[in-house]
């Protein structure tokens, strides 16, 4: 791997190796493999959100719906054309990419604010959710259907490990590919620079010749593709697809928390956030499963009121304050607090 081309390739390789060896101590435990897989899956959702929301100010609140469209499409294409799901998945990814790109394109053309995009996509999310339940002929309604695609069990038998382990490495491969894409896109391509310029000041970016609509549409497309893959793998992890996997509360709320906990616009924010959130979730599952929803709701409130820049960043700031100065003017958050009324 040549580090010159891709900044941060070395640390990504390190993270990759850590995740490759992570399941080795727990190979026998289906439960821990499941937790690890969910970490990767929500890191993938949050990665998509980081690109489209973090770097592009387009708050997508239909990740669950879009992921569901991806998952159902993969299965339906494979089923109705009698092809392998490995062909169905790219078709689904392309479809979701185009859907997300259209949303971004229309929103950018009409100069939607971040609030408008969030409300528009929330409405789309609810349409998708209803459609999954209503289109019973295609989706099996709320009872769903078994989802054991990609013939992973064959591989698992050949290698002599549980199917869940094979799936884990498959998800890891997609996540690492997504991270490579992220590093290239944001850190080394002209897209990253354009995204930054647009985020700072859309009008100024336009005036120096940046095609704002095009860049936002591209970000939407990439996020759509990643979300379709994450959605398909999420259904595969559950090995049974139902509309309840892809609700707003099950996907979007969690992905948002993951991204904010890990730190928005930080390369490893999605992964760090996913680890923290899934550890909390696993602990709750053992001790307070009934309170899971309530605790995540409370978490959402606290995170947005007090830790907008990420828990990790806040912790770093705190440590820095202790080390360097005691009571000196800390950096604070120089956001655009100046009222423009």
């Amino acid at each position: 791997m040549n580090t010159e081309r891709l900044p941060g390739a070395r640390s990504l390789a390190l993270v990759g190796i850590l995740f490759v060896i992570a399941p080795l101590p727990v190979l026998g435990s289906g439960y821990y493999i499941g937790v690890l897989s969910r970490i990767l899956l929500f890191a993938l959702f949050a990665l998509a959100l980081n690109i489209v929301f973090g770097h592009n100010d387009q708050l997508f609140l239909f990740m669950g719906g879009l992921g569901g469209v991806g998952a159902y499409t993969t299965a339906l294409v494979a089923d109705s054309f009698g092809v392998t799901p490995w062909i169905g998945l790219p078709v689904a990814a392309l479809l979701c990419g185009v859907i997300a790109m259209s949303v971004s394109w229309v929103s950018a053309r009409r100069r939607f604010t971040v609030i408008l995009i969030s409300i528009l996509t929330l409405n789309l999310q609810l349409v998708f959710s209803e459609a999954f339940i209503g289109a019973r002929d295609l989706t099996g309604g709320s009872t769903g259907f078994p989802y054991e695609l990609f013939s992973l069990s064959g591989v698992a038998e050949a290698v002599g490990v549980p199917t869940a382990v094979v799936l884990y490495y498959l998800i890891l491969a997609f996540l690492l590919a997504g991270m490579v894409l992220y590093l290239w896109l944001i850190k080394s391509s002209r897209y990253g620079i354009a995204f930054e310029a647009i985020r700072e000041d859309e009008l100024a970016a336009e005036s120096i010749g940046i095609d704002v609509v095009r860049y936002k549409a591209i970000a939407g497309f990439i996020a759509g593709v990643l979300i379709a893959i994450a959605g398909t793998l999420l259904a595969r992890e559950a090995s049974y697809i139902t509309p309840s996997i892809f609700t707003f509360l099950a996907v979007d709320v969690i992905a948002l928390i993951v991204l904010i906990v890990g730190g928005i616009r930080r390369t490893y924010g999605p992964i760090v956030g996913a680890i923290i959130v899934e550890v909390i979730e696993a602990a709750l599952g053992t001790y307070a499963a009934n309170w899971r929803t309530a605790i995540f709701g409370g978490l959402l409130i606290i995170l947005f009121l007090y830790f907008r820049s990420g828990v990790i960043v806040a912790a770093e700031d705190l440590l820095e304050d202790w080390d360097i100065s005691l009571g000196g003017g800390n950096g604070g958050t120089p956001t655009e607090a100046d009222a423009e009324s």
Binding site: T113, V114, N123, L124, L126, A131, A294, L300, I301
Partner: protein, 287 residues
């Protein structure tokens, strides 16, 4: 074969459903117009009022008192939320505040749902015990008629309050010009509290009427919120009259669609209407 009388009966049911939608729309519009907080927890308020009233009836309270107590409870709860959570949101300004409002109220609705599910997990209904009413050849459900009348009265009172009383006029000045209102000595924060409590009660009434017509469970809270959102998008987020009209029209459309093409498609029509309105007139949502 669909007869005229069936269509008329559907219209009454549609208007009754629309009445609840209108109340939810008014609730979300009042708060957004006054403080730019899009209250995504409004559905939870509706459910809280309905379930409180139902539980009180189980304890032997009479129906009218239980309903009033449910409304009072959600009003006090609204006051609590306003003084704690929203005070934190109002510290920021402009777009930042709108975004913060969306996320904190979203978190609140998830939190409330998660708490309530542990204590009140069944479905609750508030039968008013009104027999069907014969109108010529048609039979309409009495509950629907009562829903329409109660909503009409409450909305009329609300409009009288906003247009005729000093407090109401003061409230409307903030709608139009916050700085101007402050200059003439009106404290926007106090009025925001008043309006938030008012909106919680109005939403609570919507929930109680919904429970009177069929039944309500904790899982309905997010659904009510989305209904409120759709109504406010179609009616224009700052227009109370728009919210009432949009609520009634969408209620009629939904009920007819429900009857002719099925409930899932009817719901999709509602969301579709909201999406079309967002795309055609996005300015209604911007500040």
């Amino acid at each position: 074969m669909v007869t005229v009388s069936t269509l008329a009966a559907l219209a009454v049911d549609g208007l009754a459903f629309g009445a609840s939608l209108a109340l939810l729309g008014v609730g979300i519009t009042l708060v957004y117009g006054l403080g730019e907080v899009l209250n995504l927890a409004i559905g939870a308020f509706a459910v809280i009022a309905a379930i409180t009233a139902a539980l009180l009836i189980d304890r032997g309270m009479s129906l009218p008192i239980a309903i009033l107590a449910g409304l009072a409870f959600v009003g006090v709860f609204g006051l609590l939320v306003d003084r704690t959570l929203l005070s934190l949101v109002y510290r920021s300004e402009g777009e930042e505040r709108i975004l913060l409002g969306i996320f904190t109220t979203l978190g609140l609705t998830v939190l409330l749902e998660g708490v309530m599910v542990n204590y009140v997990s069944s479905r609750y209904s508030l039968p008013l015990g009104i027999s069907p009413i014969d109108v010529g050849a048609t039979v309409v459900t009495g509950t629907s008629v009562v829903s329409i009348i109660v909503t009409a009265v409450i909305i009329a009172v609300l409009f009288l309050f906003l247009n005729r009383t000093f407090l109401g006029k003061a409230t409307r000045t903030i709608f139009q010009d916050e700085r101007g209102a402050r200059l003439v000595g009106i404290d926007p924060r106090k009025l925001r509290t008043l309006v938030f409590v008012l909106s919680a009660v109005v939403a609570g009434l919507a929930g109680i009427l919904a429970a009177a017509r069929s039944n309500v469970s904790v899982a309905n809270s997010f659904q009510f919120t989305t209904f409120a959102l759709i109504v406010s998008i179609v009616g224009g987020i700052r227009s109370l009259v728009g919210a009432v009209v949009a609520g009634l029209v969408l209620g009629l459309i939904n009920t007819y669609a429900n009857f002719f093409v099925g409930s899932y498609f009817a719901t999709i029509i509602l969301f579709g209407a909201a999406i079309v309105f967002l795309l055609v007139r996005p300015e209604v949502m911007s500040s």
